[in-house]
Symmetry: C2
Subunit: 793 residues, 2 copies
């Protein structure tokens, strides 16, 4: 497969303004035909690789306001108003610009330009008319950008204070995505509502809310007008911190995860020192990062550097190759370094990013996996399919996996009596890597052995024969056939196999080894002796889109092998305080070999495959809001004694560091499931079987712990302690009407007296509310009956 | 369309037991060949129309337990255990019954029989092995029932105490639905967890939880074993009351709303006097209602009657035609009336059900709509399509609509000077019903008029010509053509139209009347003068299934006209206490005619259709948990003065009682959205237009109000007052690391001291928690760009 290798150069762009263009107009000796060509050329000469430029001028804003905002000319006569409305209607029928209303008019001016859409367009205005006209203006602007071959347009952000109209904003974007064909729309959003911390930046000054028309009449106003500048810090809740991500989530969902919709994340606001609450952005399509010079602070020598949390976030983001947009770098905000110091500093961050360093270091999984990040591969079916030699070769390259196998065999041999001859069976030898390791281990342990080598792939069996001739000689005996069907001349002491998949059992290791256990002496051992499957819930717009863009609708009910990159694990690193939820990554089930107490048929095979059915019900704590797109699957195996294999993210480095052979498994969900902060996710997964197939089914439910809501006959009561308490006026202690009628069983129902906590009768004293877990959502059952994905026995 | 009319006879069934069959075996003079034929025949002779019968005997239970439950024979030898396991493995490979293990063996025994599946099958056992074997046994039983041509099998309920394994129960049912082809599976569930009220009934005695194997060894045990018999009433929360519905919701969802999956609702538990919390069952597929004799109480004379709440619930349910299953009716639990008294009482309830009475009364909408309940019709496109005469005829039958129009015209004429000649235009006359009413109104008001009659349907225009010849003569002048294109000889005083759809504007009345307003004098009026569109959120498994079973995947993005029946409106009848949410049914927008201040082209038509764009953002309070499947759309119109038309459920009887012409509109959602109790639903809806089409787009988001969660740098804190409070051990007041570094702007972030409420430092004093609204879910944007459904201009 031809895939791109990592390109170190993150793109760095500069954001230019109308003023920059105006300045160029006044330049004494212009070297280019137009002011735009002048500023663009200057930017490229400063080694910026892209330019952000507003597409429209002040003239367009004035004409649009005059046409579309009734209040734009206070005291206008009726005739003037009618003329404006007539002009607006004419414009609505055929939207178009006059040449003075746009900054760019030539194709050569637009090269490497990212268009900044007019930031005064109120796509989230509460006023239907203004919003509709803003949408028309946006369509017009995007149409013009497309005409100029501009590939990306950055949209003005929705405004926190217009939260109620984000859905309308999103609907307008969805409409624009349908009416354009290739241009990428990028929604500019601050990483969180900057008003939470009362910090004003160049981009987001704190402005008091005004009517839309007012804000349009004030001098060039930033589009994001924050909700309440006087908020005090006590109100900083998780929900407020999430507000901008939640807007993005709504927009992205309402645009149906359109791949032409991306994010321009504005890092102007100061970031928290712990980035947990921000990790969700890693699962989103962050194409640009906006960094005004005012975000930088000066280091000891006066050069611009970023605050530590912003550094950390940016280093973490580098793996996603965003374009970094620097703004105001020419404003001389820092004493030393000049304009180029900002870009140089960004390059420095890129080079020191641990992710980038890992990618560049040979031998790491990150280096090995280049080009495979977030690439969905169907899991192997080595039992049904005979693997090609190329696949074997790729796996044989793993230096760690086979070293671990050799170590396990070495230790197993050491535990054998020194003068004994050990009988070994390599079950499923492929092209023979385990045979070679077995012989080395025997030599190291100074033990004798007879090695039976079983392989069912007729093509690989040719390679085995060749290696026997050239390398192994009579030390090994080759047997051709399926380990579930053939016979080995004598019972062996050790069966060695490498049948594990990313999820442990997902390449049918349990079923194959059930067959191979026939060869084993009663006290014989299996290498591996056991393996476990592990799961964690994940979010990833990328993987969700990849999975559903597959061949057919079954794509979202099939597990994939994938090297995760634009992925965020949603579960918290710690278990929940009440102990209901387990750790971030949880074990589903285990398989052990040999199987004890199986009922066998005369051939020594289990009568049914019933004993290989498994199921798990897991509870994950979700600290920060996110969207569930799937489950990450991992395995761990015990080969022998303390020698193992692991791709469990938290343990792999202790057990089998730098092992390359397995990427994780990804179980997708058809319907993204929204999970609020502080919620609980319950995952059910089943490993099922019939006489021909094995398959997984999976399902998830979400819960939120909230104060218990008591109920009476008529209406829900507010939870105890909820403010303001709503006390029914009726006297308490009313008996049910049933009590008054004939009721031989003495039934009564919902007696008010027993349901209203006494404390509620005084609004001044509150009692500790009792909490209960409330269901808030679920997915459908995935892959029922193995209809979309199964493993052939 | 041929549709069934209402059949009064609700089916009444009796539930027979193994004991009943055993008694028949001992009958001295059997009149039938087999005991089953004997009991079945006796039941039919008592006028039961169906029989519920257990399909398996005690012998099967014993064999299954011996094979599949390790603990079934305490003290068994190793050999005995191995023999049992071998027998189990053999059974798993080829599940089959011995003849003693089933009650029915002949086809004639199974006629009109509903099979009761072995109620000891633990499909929700926490033990993987037991659960898998129970599923195999269920498949075997269903396969046998299918062999006997039995059409319905009632399944044992999942158990409250095994809530964690309901997903496994559901998965097993989903598997059975796939492996059978026509048999209906009905899940038996009590209407709520009966243990909440410590009432033991014949079906649900209070049993202490035991291990699965224990419960299997005890004498015939009911499958539903309640969680905690010692719960006290203080714990009766909305969530507990919802528990059984929530289990059903999970099962139904995981089985992907399979139409062969139904509910058998057990009414044994005493019901609340207010049924609000139970109304959700109306939206589900309740096929059977289980009523043991112990549910009945005795009236003054000693005859069995039902408690009032159960009566009310049952009367309300009659419209859905469930089969009522009576159990223990022969146990002589009541002094008077004998066995037949129970069925007679059910018939009495059916006859006195207000719904049934409404259906039987000619002239009601319920009577008119028979056969159309929950039947999805595509809305008319009378502008694009020319209606057939049959459609006109159906609408002309409405006695109320045209009476209202006549009254409106009459009042409008009365307001004209007595000696004037009024110029009237009937815009869109169809076959002429408004023309006739207009002439009658003129006569009643004693006014003169010239009546221009405009119609664009060439076929209907033939009818108009005929009526002019025969009835109207020169009083009217016919004009053929589209009201947006033709000319009327003179400007008129009144334009009368009947262009309204179920949602008001959804048959393009606004656009058509924009054209007709050209004929109107400056002070002229339109009848109707205005109309409004209204929405309410609804739940209905039936409508969801109908919408998605349509022609293509667009079926779930298209509004339908439908007479609601198996539907539950989810919004609360009252606004929420905090005033955030509006009433149960909310107004979206209004259209008024004539349009003032429009910019017109030389022909008098609006330049663009921009002024007919509308949008609404509505907030509904959801008191009781439910699943959102769509929106119910209604309209109200002001014809003239205080004369109007309304299909608004709460106001139609005051405004236009018994009007038949419009069923509500149904906007479906593609993805059912789970809404917890006490939540908030925000609905966005847009009416959009381009130069060729008009369409709606819609979207919903859900929120829950929960105690505000404060956050610090590292982890989420528990909400203030949450129990047990988790106090971080670190000292409060730590400055952010940013404070210690160079930070010229003086930034700080998430200072602990300001975020932890002081009260948290003592676990004994709790303060009133502050609440905030937290997003918990959303749907996708429906019908973006009118891609699935639009109205042609």
């Amino acid at each position: 497969m031809s895939v791109p290798r990592w390109d170190l150069s993150t793109t760095i762009a500069t954001s230019l303004t109308l003023e920059d263009i105006a300045d160029a107009t006044l330049a004494p000796e212009p070297q280019h035909e137009t002011p735009v060509l002048q500023v663009v050329s200057e930017a490229f000469s400063k080694e910026y690789e892209a330019i952000c430029l507003p597409l429209t001028t002040e003239a367009w804003k004035q004409r649009w306001s005059l046409m579309c905002l009734e209040s734009s000319v206070p005291g206008a006569s009726e005739e003037e108003k009618e003329a404006a409305e007539r002009a607006a209607e004419t414009w609505r029928l055929r939207p178009s610009f006059l040449k003075e209303e746009v900054t760019i008019t030539r194709l050569d001016e637009a090269e490497r330009v990212i268009a900044m859409v007019s930031e005064w367009l109120e796509l989230d205005s509460p006023d239907d008319g203004i919003r509709t006209d803003a949408e028309t203006a946006l369509q017009q602007e995007l149409s013009y950008a497309s005409y100029l071959n501009i590939h990306t347009a950055i949209l003005p952000p929705p405004r926190i204070r217009n939260r109620d109209y984000v859905a309308s904003y999103a609907r307008a974007i969805s409409s624009c995505l349908r009416s354009t064909s290739y241009i990428t729309l990028s929604v500019r959003l601050p990483i969180y509502d900057p008003s939470l911390f009362q910090r004003s930046s160049a981009l987001y000054p704190t402005v008091h809310p005004g009517s839309p028309s007012q804000s349009l009449k004030s001098p060039p106003t930033p589009a994001l007008v924050v909700s309440d500048a006087n908020q005090d810090r006590q109100q900083t809740s998780e929900t407020s911190l999430n507000a901008t991500w939640e807007m993005w989530d709504l927009i992205r969902s309402m645009c149906d995860y359109n791949p032409r919709l991306t994010l321009t994340l504005d890092l102007s606001p100061a970031l928290p020192t712990s980035l947990g609450v921000l990790s969700k952005w890693a699962a989103e399509s962050v194409r640009h990062i906006f960094l005004p010079a005012s975000t930088f602070i000066a280091n000891m020598k006066g050069y611009p550097v970023l605050p530590k949390p912003t550094q950390a976030f940016l280093k973490g983001s580098m793996i996603h190759r965003p374009t970094i947009i620097l703004a105001d770098a020419n404003a001389q905000k820092h004493a030393r370094g000049g304009e180029r110091a900002y870009a140089q500093y960004i390059r420095h961050l890129e080079k020191t990013s641990p992710h980038i360093q890992a990618v560049q270091k040979p031998g790491t999984v990150e280096n090995f996996a280049q080009g495979y990040q977030d690439f969905l591969q169907a899991p192997l079916q080595p039992l049904m399919d005979n693997l090609p030699s190329q696949t074997y070769q790729t796996f044989e390259r793993d230096p760690v996996k086979y070293a671990q196998y050799e170590e396990a065999m070495y230790k197993a041999f050491l535990d054998r009596p020194p003068d004994s001859t050990t009988l070994v069976c390599i079950a499923g030898a492929g092209r023979g890597p385990l045979v070679a390791r077995c012989l080395t281990a025997l030599e190291r342990a100074n033990r004798q052995a007879t090695v039976y080598v079983v392989e069912k792939n007729p093509n690989a069996f040719v390679t085995l024969q060749r290696r026997q001739d050239r390398e192994w000689g009579t030390k090994v005996r080759l047997i051709f056939g399926d380990m579930r069907a053939i016979d080995v001349p004598e019972k062996v002491d050790i069966v060695v196999s490498e049948l594990l998949g990313s999820f442990g059992d997902n390449e049918l290791s349990p079923e194959c080894l059930d067959g191979a256990m026939r060869f084993l002496k009663p006290e014989g051992i299996s290498i591996p002796s056991s393996y476990t499957a592990h799961l964690a819930p994940l979010s990833s717009s990328k993987l969700y889109n990849e999975a559903r863009s597959g061949r057919d609708e079954k794509g979202l009910e099939t597990p994939y092998v994938v090297m995760f990159q634009a992925v965020n694990i949603l579960s918290g690193t710690k278990s929940s305080a009440d102990g209901r939820c387990g750790p971030q990554i949880q074990e589903c089930w285990e398989f052990e070999h040999p199987l004890r107490e199986a009922v066998l048929d005369p051939r020594g095979l289990p009568l049914s495959n019933n004993h290989n059915v498994r199921s798990a019900k897991l509870r994950f704590y979700i600290p920060h809001a996110g969207v569930l797109h799937g489950l990450a699957g991992y395995f761990e195996a015990v080969l022998y004694g303390n020698v193992g294999l692991s791709i469990h993210p938290q343990r792999k480095d202790q057990i089998s560091k730098d092992m390359l052979s397995w990427f994780p498994l990804f179980f997708p969900f058809k319907e993204p499931l929204y999970l609020p902060s502080d919620s609980e996710l319950q995952v059910s997964i089943w490993r099922l079987t019939n006489d021909k197939q094995v398959w997984y089914e999976w399902h998830a439910e979400s819960f939120l712990s909230i104060p218990k809501r008591l109920t009476d006959n008529d209406e829900l009561l507010r939870p105890v302690g909820k403010s303001p308490p709503s006390i029914p006026n009726s006297p308490s202690g009313i008996a049910s009407p049933l009590m008054d009628s004939q009721d031989p069983l003495g039934l009564s129902f919902f007696r008010r007296s027993s349901l209203i906590a006494p404390s509620l009768s005084s609004s001044l004293s509150y009692h500790e509310p009792e909490y209960e877990s409330v269901k808030i959502g679920h997915t459908s059952l995935h892959n029922p009956g193995g209809r979309s994905s199964w493993l052939g026995l």
